[in-house]
Symmetry: C2
């Protein structure tokens, strides 16, 4: 569920909701736990984004030093000025100037260190220009003014997406022998009712009463707080209160948001109009299936449900054995109230999701040895509460031993995901696995880790790996009346006596026609307590409701006979647990682009306008594998160029041909902009010896 996230939590943490919905907003709103407050316009250029946050001890020490340095530098500047006025000896002035320089350098380095811990420093303007200019992505429907939160990928973006998904398939599905399904986006109501989405997959919204314009309550509060915090005359107490409120935003329910909204006297932006009460807005796109208009359907908000729907068939496909993993690549949709942060929060996105079904008592992994020596960056729950810096680098094996990772299956996926992240070109040290805090997780989840990538927007959740226990299969089993479990045999069978519910097939058949079979099947799967409960209900009410084939039937007393019987029991039916690695492809791509971007240092070009951006992409996912360019655009060189192009075409190697008149260096630079991995230059030597 990555890729997006959210608000399911905001509206319903106290309920039994999937861990999948916990994530990104936590990071964007308050990615540092509360400890103390630090606020200094002076040291942070981008004041708005960095206006308020909460710091760790380590960071606080750095910040204090920075504050001291600033005073010292100020004093030093004044001193130098005085010396100059006094026409002091040149070397005395120079000594002071040099001292000031080194103080400034120290300050710069600290600033960089603090900054780098929380967001990637890139020249955003140049980066955006490259993304747009080389058509990596673009707002959709720009011809008609665009739709906020919808983006199209252009040729290089699209090629990278295809390469990334192919690599993902090889790395996970083929390598692990996973069972991939292709399931539909259009989803009927009952599925999403059972999963909890129709009731709880919401954000808290408020409407401007006069115009009907809609706003996310937490966004309005955050913007207002950041504005208020810019006031330098604010008392320390008020400041702390505001910072605390901002940090708690993602944990607030409707009534709390409502209270803050009124306290801060927030009005609609721009118009300053009155705002309505805060109410939940469901984030699913709703539609109607079929022509009657009576069957509501939704565009799925995640791909996982399609896998749970097919659990029974998958189990059978796997010969009834656990563990096995199913996977799905597909679109998911969320009707965001006010999309922000470009590609990171969109209405439609591609997810690659895995559901790894395991016996709840056996979460070991047979291939764990293949990953134990892999080193990666862990940002554990415990570590987050201690010092909220980047985290600790250790091996998967060490993390298991230290109890940071609770089971081998989770550990195995973190190991494989690390390898995948490296292959696609996320930079070492710029991605980490952050464990969800206790409060962040839904109550049924045992554990949850996010791969967060460092971007200019901060650490962004790109991949989520959650141990979701038996939640999904349990709710669908209850709602559909079908048992979703696997059979775990005993070492040897035992004989038990138990109450049986025997169907009166004739009576049932007459009453329910083709649905009778479903009811009979349901009765057969009831365990002892189930039968006892049914008997009790039927004896008191004369009838009972039974759910089968997704419908509910009122079954009367005469249709079932209760009787004590002996049964040979050979094992138990157990609901599997599921571990879910979930990859948000759009976010992953965006993080790669930002992390791969730098500006080529070119001595001849001192002005930033003249300098060109470079993307240093991994050849495994680069949009174009190979540039083919004649050294000069001369007629003699063109046939050889065409020949090389033809060979590459036939081999299915992606390539671009650049026969423009530009200097070869310029053409190389253009290829660097889109991260082309290799270049074949056709020169006169090529003609001589085919090199």
């Amino acid at each position: 569920t990555t890729g997006q996230s959210v608000s399911f939590v905001r509206c319903g943490r106290s309920l039994s909701l999937p861990a999948r919905f916990v994530g990104f907003p936590t990071n964007t709103c308050s990615y540092f736990p509360q400890r103390s407050v630090f606020f200094s316009q002076r040291y942070f250029q981008s004041s708005r984004a960095m206006a308020a946050f909460v710091m760790s001890e380590e960071e606080e020490t750095l910040a204090k030093r920075l504050s001291e340095l600033s005073d010292v530098i100020e004093a030093k500047v004044k001193e130098i000025g005085d010396l100059k006025k006094k026409k002091a000896p040149k070397d005395e002035i120079m000594k002071n100037v040099n001292e000031m320089k080194s103080l400034r350098e120290e300050a710069d380095q600290i600033r960089k260190k603090i900054e780098m811990e929380r967001r990637l420093e890139i020249n955003k303007e140049k980066f955006d220009a490259l993304m747009k200019g080389r058509f990596f992505f673009t707002p959709s429907f720009g011809l008609y003014g665009g739709v906020s939160g919808l983006y199209d990928l252009g040729p290089p973006g699209c090629a990278m997406k295809a390469n990334t998904i192919n690599l993902w398939r090889k790395h996970f599905i083929v390598n692990e022998g996973m069972l991939e399904l292709d399931t539909t986006s259009v989803t009927p109501l009952n599925v999403l009712k059972a999963s909890g989405h129709t009731a709880k997959f919401s954000d808290w919204m408020t409407r401007e009463i006069s115009t009907g314009a809609c706003f996310r309550a937490d966004h309005l509060i955050k913007d207002k707080l950041e504005l208020l915090l810019q006031d330098k005359t604010l008392s320390a107490e008020t400041r702390e209160k505001y910072v605390h409120t901002e940090a708690s935003l993602d944990e607030m329910e409707g009534p709390e948001l409502e209270k803050v909204l009124r306290e801060l006297e927030i009005k609609a932006p721009e118009t300053n109009g009155e705002l309505s009460e805060v109410f939940p807005f469901n984030l699913m796109f709703e539609t109607k299936i079929g022509p009657t208009g009576k069957n509501p359907g939704f565009m799925r908000p995640e791909t996982a449900q399609g896998l749970f729907m097919n659990f029974d068939r998958l189990l059978k496909y796997n010969g009834g054995h656990l563990p096995f993993a199913a996977a799905c690549v597909g679109q998911a949709f969320r009707n965001e109230i006010s999309p922000r942060a470009g590609l990171l929060r969109v209405l439609e996105f591609t997810l690659c999701e895995i559901e790894h079904f395991v016996d709840p008592t056996e979460k070991t992994h047979p291939k764990i040895d293949e990953v134990t020596s892999i080193k990666t960056l862990f940002y554990s729950r415990e570590r987050q509460s201690r010092t909220p810096m980047r985290g600790d680098t250790m091996t998967i094996g060490e993390a298991l031993e230290a109890g940071i990772l609770q089971n081998q299956t989770l550990a195995y996926f973190i190991g494989r995901t690390t390898l995948f992240a490296r292959q696609i070109g996320l930079k070492e040290g710029k991605f980490r696995f952050r464990q969800h805090k206790e409060k962040e997780m839904a109550h049924y989840a045992c554990d949850c880790w996010d791969l967060e990538a460092l971007t200019s927007y901060g650490w962004v959740e790109c991949i989520g790996i959650a141990d979701r226990s038996a939640f999904d299969l349990t709710v669908h089993s209850e709602a559909s009346g079908e048992k979703l479990c696997f059979f775990k045999p005993y070492d040897k069978p035992v004989e038990i006596s138990r109450l049986m519910a025997n169907p009166e097939k004739g009576v049932l058949g007459k009453a329910f026609k083709k649905d009778a079979q479903g009811i009979i099947k349901h009765l057969a799967t009831l365990d002892n307590e189930g039968v006892a409960a049914l008997q009790k209900e039927m004896e008191s009410a004369g009838k009972a409701d039974i759910t089968a084939n997704g419908k509910t039937f009122s079954v009367t007393k005469d249709m079932v006979k209760f009787k004590e019987g002996k049964e040979k029991k050979t094992g138990d039916n157990i609901v599997p647990h599921v571990i879910e690695p979930s990859f948000g492809i759009g976010r992953i791509l965006y993080a790669i682009w930002e992390q791969s971007f730098y500006i080529r240092q070119d001595k001849e070009k001192t002005k930033i306008e003249d300098q060109r951006g470079v993307l240093s992409l991994s050849p495994a996912v680069a949009p174009t594998t190979c540039l083919v360019a004649p050294l000069m655009v001369k007629n003699e060189l063109l046939p050889a160029t065409k020949e090389v192009v033809k060979i590459l075409s036939r081999a299915g190697i992606s390539h671009s041909e650049d026969c423009s008149g530009a200097a070869i260096g310029r053409r190389y630079a253009r290829a660097d902009e889109i991260g082309v991995s290799f270049a074949l230059t056709i020169d006169y030597e090529t003609l001589e010896n085919r090199t």
Copy 2:
């Protein structure tokens, strides 16, 4: 647009609607043009499907012979009976028996020949059992009773889909250097209004008045006609009338359908309830974008619109030059009234679409020579009107010479598509290119060819290749106010004097703020006639409507100054034509599965229940490349098996390991069922010499 089709045509052939909407129903309703009528229960087992159709001369000859044969055989049977009664000499009886046998053989062959021309003969029951049993596909949401028209692909289906799309990408996008985009499914109203979808993308529907149940009018009529045609006492005249009606169904508009519905006194199926008037039902899934509920959006019914939206950026990406091709792989959605024919008509499907933009006057193709010698099966318009059998095999070059193919670009794509069809495993002679008839095409389309694959449902459109002229770019240009064209330079510039519309920038800016720029841009793109028309309107009404940025503005006289001026003209702005090959992946897969299916002939297994189905799939798309199986499941052989599996995993080669206790032959047969291409058997020799 393939993959589905339709009814856009039914509701609006007379309007300017894309050729993409012409297709499949033509085939299912009446895949033989009217010439004469043939109806014979006697010779066709599957009477319902074959109950009524219209035949060619060639077929009619065959059918007549079949009818004669039937009479002769009947007489012969009687004769043999008489001879036996008379206790005639054995060799006289035998002679007659042998004669009868050869007559029957001839009849069988004719029957087979006629049948094979129109549908694939397979054991449908066995085929369905294999598809379901090996989880190629399954109805979606079966746990909740399913949703008709939605299917999930299981592991082998899904793997084949991924392989097919990868191959498609290599074969078309990489090989041709196409520009692939990844565009969104959620589409705002104005885009689909301009394209004509909101007004015209409909099927004709009728409702049962009492229950509200919905039906497709043409389906009800077809079912009723087929029932009526089973009546053997029908007069020849009435029969011919019914057959004619059925054959014309797909050309009928609402009022005509209404008329037939009343004439035949059709009521609702099962309940026999009264039906409402026939009215159009729009096939797009509608939803709301954003939280206000005021912005309608749709799930796109085709992927092509996303490419047209980006035409300007694509042209720029290609350096302003034509021709170039853009492509898109993605989901499309159609809210069918009553989905039929399993995977062939579904609510959600994957399309691979190409839009090849060309200069209208230059439809040659530089690589035409690479395809001219490719032989394929053509079923041209002219051929359809003459003898509606399978078509003619000829080379692309011959078809161009004969004028069957009108231009090289279309021909090139038919050639490349033939190669693709062969690679993915459509069988030679079981796919053909059928040209749309004049009446079938929308008026702006120059030409349109469908790749039809032979299936048990008949010839089914899987791929459409249409020359769509300048339709799409023209309508979007008009609706958005943005010129969508390319600049074609003259050999040398010419100086012309023309009327200019010069904007009063200040006045415009004041009136329209940030939209002024769009209006100024619009004025600059007006040609001489455009300016003259604007001047005329402004002089008479004092103002005129101008569309820019997707909105319409009322621009007054004082905002524009008209003036005669001289202009150096260096070329023309021309709206490109577009040739659109469109691949329906779901239909292609289904056609491959049916065409690859056969039942293994096994002498020991005489009962059909015991015989196993085989899929002979092309290794290029087979779900599993390699089976790894130890000859016997012995401990000595297992380590080597695991080693081979590991090597294949690392190489990313899809494989399945079968270490079950079944006999090796049985395991091979299981692999054959899902079309595994290669088998590696680990035996004792493997241990000795690693073979």
